[in-house]
Symmetry: D2
Subunit: 406 residues, 4 copies
């Protein structure tokens, strides 16, 4: 454990974390958590990398992570954390007080970002790169921001993580299916390219490992994947599996394994944070609902009816509550039911996974394993390049990786 | 599919199923289901052996199973099935009408059994072997019943399955830890030996594969296990995992896998069938509650509080309803909650597993694999000789077995 | 109790029941129930008029009710009842068998109706009055059907009940705010008038007591109310309170009474019958959702957030399942939660109320009490002319009426 | 609103509140709440007396209440409040900081009490009156404590409220059915008399209005009721209705009112505060479970099965969570279900009712209305002398009282 200053013992350990959407709920909670751990104020409950067998890997220490990022929101990280404390009770007052100085220091490293094609719901009255620059220049500016940060803090490695609000789905993504097509679009100032793609392109092209924590397009494009393979840069996504979908990926295999026929699976989510507000906008919700729905369709190919709803309920703030109703048929055509309610703090569930993913992607990068990282499938609702949605089986891939590299 | 008569095409397929507790809920539903499948009236939903990869094994066909059994209840199988139809709606009227003749025929093959040390709750005003015979003679009579049935129906193989009501836990089971000690106790007319042990001993000693579907002592005794190993007879148990515990074994690994700290897991079961009534008797409940509780303690060794209750609610009949409340802690000490309700027809969930186990134990016997069958762990709350309680991992053992033997 | 034939002892008791939507779920279940009661096959559980103090009123006996009606669906009442038996298990096979003859007899008395302006969701490939007749002629035909039925069966009184599928909300209902305006519209063949208004107008104008069991426009129009007052015909509505809203009207007063501040009340309904399908059409749902929402807004004027959803889940058939989540604040700004799940057979909850309302409206008519019937407010989600939504207080009005007239 | 000092403007308003169990959860929260209201830090949500029509009565102001009490726990009020803040999050840190001085001042006024016959579960290693004094002397000491407090603070009136942990049920309470018998027992040092009776006797005999907030014997004894009638002292009880039972008393009338037959009502409560621990002791639980069960038996006399469980789940602290499962039958013998989960902070629900009851009993005393106070029935699970358990009807009595006295 460090003395609480951001001064890790060993240069080899200096890993940077660049958060796209650095003042959002998830980013704020990740930073607060990492600094609280560094200062010995809290444990590492919720972090997969702190539990056997993954904890036996040689991973960058949490207290050595150096944070920076982009955002278009003008409100400071401290103000964001205070609002979360007041609305959700997480972080608690004592923890926030102890890391307030760290947050202020990190806030100074957050640069103005882009939000092109992020949908009406996230458009705010704030400064944005895309208002004054061509697409290629936006990319160059982002890339510059990454590089400047890395040099200034003398980082061995910089992991870029997209934790910004969900974008609307991109129409006809196939047009960017090759690296060539994508780069031509950038050069030709193609204004259809959404912000998530620009951040991702800049990261991969600059050799920085990348994690897409959201349902946004980012590294799902064929062009990006080709680039990452060519440059041997590790990347993975998309859409972190934190709550209701996590439960589905653990429960649905039980119905499959016992040959029980799920006739209907209704999932109804209510939440009151900015994510809820953005998803209330139908265009932005489409991507999210699709990756949530796919999990069941994949594990239960014979499912009769599968619907997911997300509604905005302001009083719940960051507390995402889901009710799932499962109507299934067993032996002798007997109809039976299971229902569950999940009440989780969305950010507190997501934040430790950000730290886990940064550490694991850095580990792959250190060992020269570029391209997609299928061993990380368990972290995502729609793991790119992986068909397995059974949570246990996804975890087994991670454990196999840990065994291999310990 | 057969023509509906109990005449399977091939002698090699003639597998007998001897049900201890042959007029109970689970036995009745198993027989009704097997005959309804044989007559083409229902599908095989709920049967693990009818789904890939297990279905690719060469297993005895469901329509060739020949049923017999012991019971102390005087009421006929048809009457039992009618009561289940009236109280639970399972089986439905049409199905019961179609198999009524089969049930009557099978009922004639049910012999008077023993219920020694089965607890006050199951003692009924009925004829019982143990009232007039010494322990050794009871064992001999049971063995005789098995053998007579096998010969009369020209069966290649007889699988004995204990589906009788749960017995009170046996005090000091270690005294029967060797085959010698156990056989001495039988010879010395040791009246502490419970019925389940006598049925099991007679089965294993006679070379019949055995399944302990209940929490009763049966094949958990060291003496029985030694005997089965010596005689190379396959056997497995105990306590079939049908409802709430099944869900626990699928969900608890999710909390473990994400390093979430479960502080309390409360499980409250209500049901209205005879099992519920028997378990209302505290002595009989002890064994059941212990095997239910062990699942969580094994998967979540750091669990703070783990309680299971079973209450008798007559109006629910065979519909077992469970409410589970899970209080857990995540990142930054955030307290969160999950709760679920499970509403299942106990017998309809259990019955297909009886058929699965009969087929899989017969398969092992056919191939000369005696002793405990760890590949069947997924079927049990307390799999004898297996420490793994994670349902997905238990299933993987079965799938590996299927791959090996396909 | 009668001998099972539709021959009530006393002419004075001969009350007719004319069901608009006579082959729908609710109508079918009402007829099956009334005939099953008449034949002594079932009790009167679920009927408010069979419980003190209301049961002490001199009401037309259930076994004397004579059924007829309109529908546009060509499928017979028997076929409808069979489908309900098969899909929902209600009525059970035995009951249906016993009343099948009665259903066939009643089916012959069902006339072709109209479905003008009933929305896309209910338009079927069926014969309809409005296709060949002018509005005035449709009204005259309906009125004729009522009168012919009354005469043929020598009825003392005919109560008309609208139990047809929910119509889309009528735009600008104020244009029909007077009797004059309404009658002018009928004469001028105003095709905006929805079917429910035509049935209601024909009933009231013909002197027949009327009940609007649905959210459709019917007797909520000012013009209809003026007519009923002028002709002194009793009528009441709208939208029978059977499930989730009934619970709300019992629970919300508890929060109000204890001065607890409800911040959010989310209600999520799923069901699989034709009502669910019709309500999936947004236009048709608007009226329903509005009357469901009003209950909370009335009882809890300071409620922060109040949303109701109705989704179509085919496998549930007639079983309406609702999940309600109530987030409230108490002393010292403490946030607390209540949630409930309601699983009810929609038709089985509605049917006894149809019989109750027929009997109670007939009672008012017998005593010459025309116009709106506020003592019946407890039966409706949106009781016309009554502001009280607290179920207990609404019931008190009924009990007061019973005391007064016993 | 006062300036925050305990100096109400008007002597006529000076009402004292003597809390038996003054350092318990409920007492602590009541004091914190009253002082937070006095200091303008929180609103009066949760207080029935702050809502129309009750708020129009001329009641003693909350900011003028002067607190004192008895306890046997040595831990200070401040320490208790801190533990509640840390374990439950209520009160919040800011509120507690603001009233800490008030708590310390009030703590000095808490005298050593008695805990005779309070059961094993509440016996602690603490000083107690009954260890060194005869029963009559304990009574005199208690009475003296009341009087000294009243004089020292120049109070117009002192209301005594029992909020101590639940005692075991008293065997054969009939032996104290008259005032004579009770006073003879006190004089003869009858050690069967439980603490609650001694506190109550001292209060009533001294002319102090009394509220029994708990299920303990207190003012249910015939002898106490005779005394209160003779001395014209207002008193009421018992067992405040705060959570699951409150919901039952609002919901059960709905089933009754619709003539739905409740076959089973299972209630399962889990909580982690000292109340939960005490109730885990079967003897102490008996009284509580009895008053909880009576509500349903009274409202639903035909109920088939009615069970209440209370379990101790430490991690929940003061958050009482109840799951209720209601299995009911409707029209055509259709079986249906409702279930609810209630998650409430026990103390935050109880505390405002303590303040309400003090104010309302003081109001009755001021107007010379002695004896039982049936208008307060809505506050109690087992209202002494009142058969009505329907929450709405109980509230109507309070509203009638408010109308009468406004």
């Amino acid at each position: 454990m460090s003395d609480g200053r951001e001064q890790p013992a060993d240069d080899a350990d200096r890993t940077g974390v660049w958060l796209v959407g650095a003042r959002g709920n998830v980013a704020t909670m990740s930073i607060v958590g990492a600094r609280a751990i560094a200062r010995g104020l809290t444990g590492t409950t919720g972090m997969v990398t702190e539990r056997e067998p993954v904890s036996s890997l040689d991973l960058p220490p949490v207290d050595g992570l150096v944070f920076g990022g982009h955002d278009i929101a003008p409100e400071s990280l401290v103000a964001q954390a205070e609002r979360q404390r007041d609305r959700n009770g997480v972080p608690d007052a004592e923890t926030l007080a102890a890391v307030r100085g760290d947050l202020a220091e990190i806030d100074d490293r957050i640069e103005v970002g882009t939000a092109v094609n992020c949908g009406a719901a996230v458009s705010e009255d704030s400064e944005r790169l895309d208002e004054r620059l061509a697409v290629r220049d936006v990319v160059d500016q982002i890339r510059d921001d990454y590089e400047t940060f890395r040099e200034r803090h003398d980082l061995e490695r910089l992991v870029v993580v997209n934790v910004a609000s969900t974008e609307p789905e991109l129409a006809e993504p196939d047009r960017y299916d090759t690296r060539d097509a994508l780069e031509r679009a950038i050069d030709e100032d193609d204004r259809d390219l959404p912000a998530s793609v620009l951040y991702t392109y800049a990261a991969i092209d600059g050799g920085h490992p990348f994690v897409n924590f959201t349902p946004s397009t980012g590294n799902t494009l064929g062009g990006i994947r080709e680039l990452a393979a060519a440059k041997d840069v590790p990347h993975m996504g998309r859409d972190a599996k934190t709550g209701e979908t996590l439960v589905k990926s653990a429960l649905a295999p039980m119905f499959a394994g016992r040959n029980l026929q799920v006739m209907s699976w209704e999932g109804h989510n209510i939440l009151g944070n900015k994510d809820g507000l953005v998803l209330e906008d139908e265009a932005n919700a489409a991507g999210k609902l699709s990756s949530k729905g796919d999990v069941l369709d994949s594990i239960l190919p014979d499912i009769g009816h599968n619907r997911v709803r997300i509604d905005y309920t302001p009083s719940l703030a960051d507390w995402k509550t889901a009710w799932d109703y499962i109507h299934f048929e067993g032996f002798l055509d007997t109809e039976m039911k299971m229902q569950f309610t999940w009440e989780g703090s969305d950010s507190a569930l997501a934040a430790p996974l950000v730290l886990d993913l940064v550490r694991l992607v850095a580990h792959a990068d250190e060992r020269g394993n570029g391209g997609l990282q299928p061993q990380l499938a368990s972290f995502f609702k729609a793991p790119i390049g992986v068909d397995e949605h059974d949570f246990s089986r996804q975890l087994d891939r991670l454990y196999d990786y840990a065994e291999q590299h310990r």
